[in-house]
Subunit: 151 residues, 2 copies
């Protein structure tokens, strides 16, 4: 029995579990909007700035096109976005919000507070979350750098 292989010693398992449970916590809030959690992320990117290329969204969410293209196709079928091919560069695909997609922001703006409200009086204070975010940013930065180095 190797101590380093104990599940309880695995940071990655904690992050993996927290990620899944958080996504599950979002589900009942996003279901009324007809969004999955990854789709909600795409919407946030587009609400910040409309008319972005697939590649822009990829970069922002750190996802590849093989994940995003099918997702954007489903979102287009749902009438949330429109995909337009070849404007300046014929290879690019521009993703734009539909009116429906725009309007969804009004309903979505309540979602984040629903979750942070649930964090109150739980032993996890705002400063803990702040520190958590900072450490995760550093960690992600490191992992991205290592990833670059592979190519």
């Amino acid at each position: 029995m190797y101590e380093q292989l104990r599940l309880d010693n695995q940071l990655c398992f904690r992050i993996y579990t927290a990620s899944r449970l958080l996504t599950q916590a979002y589900r009942p809030l996003l279901e009324p909007l007809g969004l999955t959690y990854p789709q909600y992320l795409v919407m946030m990117v587009l609400w910040e700035k409309d008319n972005q290329l697939v590649g822009d969204i990829c970069q922002r969410l750190r996802l590849d096109t093989n994940t995003l293209t099918p997702m954007l196709q489903r979102m287009e079928k749902e009438g949330l976005v429109i995909r337009t091919r070849g404007i300046a560069d014929g290879r690019q695909t521009l993703v734009s919000l539909t009116r429906k997609g725009h309007h969804l922001e009004e309903q979505a703006k309540e979602v984040p507070s629903c979750l942070t409200r649930g964090m109150q009086d739980t032993g996890v204070g705002p400063e803990d979350l702040q520190r958590l975010a900072a450490t995760l940013d550093t960690l992600t930065g490191i992992l991205e750098t290592k990833k670059e180095g592979q190519h």
Copy 2:
């Protein structure tokens, strides 16, 4: 533009990204062992204690049978585990390591250190990781409690 909908303000997005990047970081280390990251988690559970029920593994990893059953079936096909139905209780399925599955622990024991080594001299110290783990545990605990309350 609602401030609370900015991607940069989303803790969940950070965790989601960190989780994916960490899993990606494990991939090249686990590929030689013929394991995916979730399968590696199952193996860790079984290395800690062999001969566990599907339900035990579910509870430990906080995954449901609809995820684990197909995964265990794949692992059985790979010759890592054996699934035995109905010992005391005919509904249960006992999951046991094969000799091959047991032997894999020897190779796997190097995996964790490969990753922690990569964390050295990066600005993220052991105490940061410790605190990160603690906060995630609390967070996960809260999310689990909320989840219970839904039933």
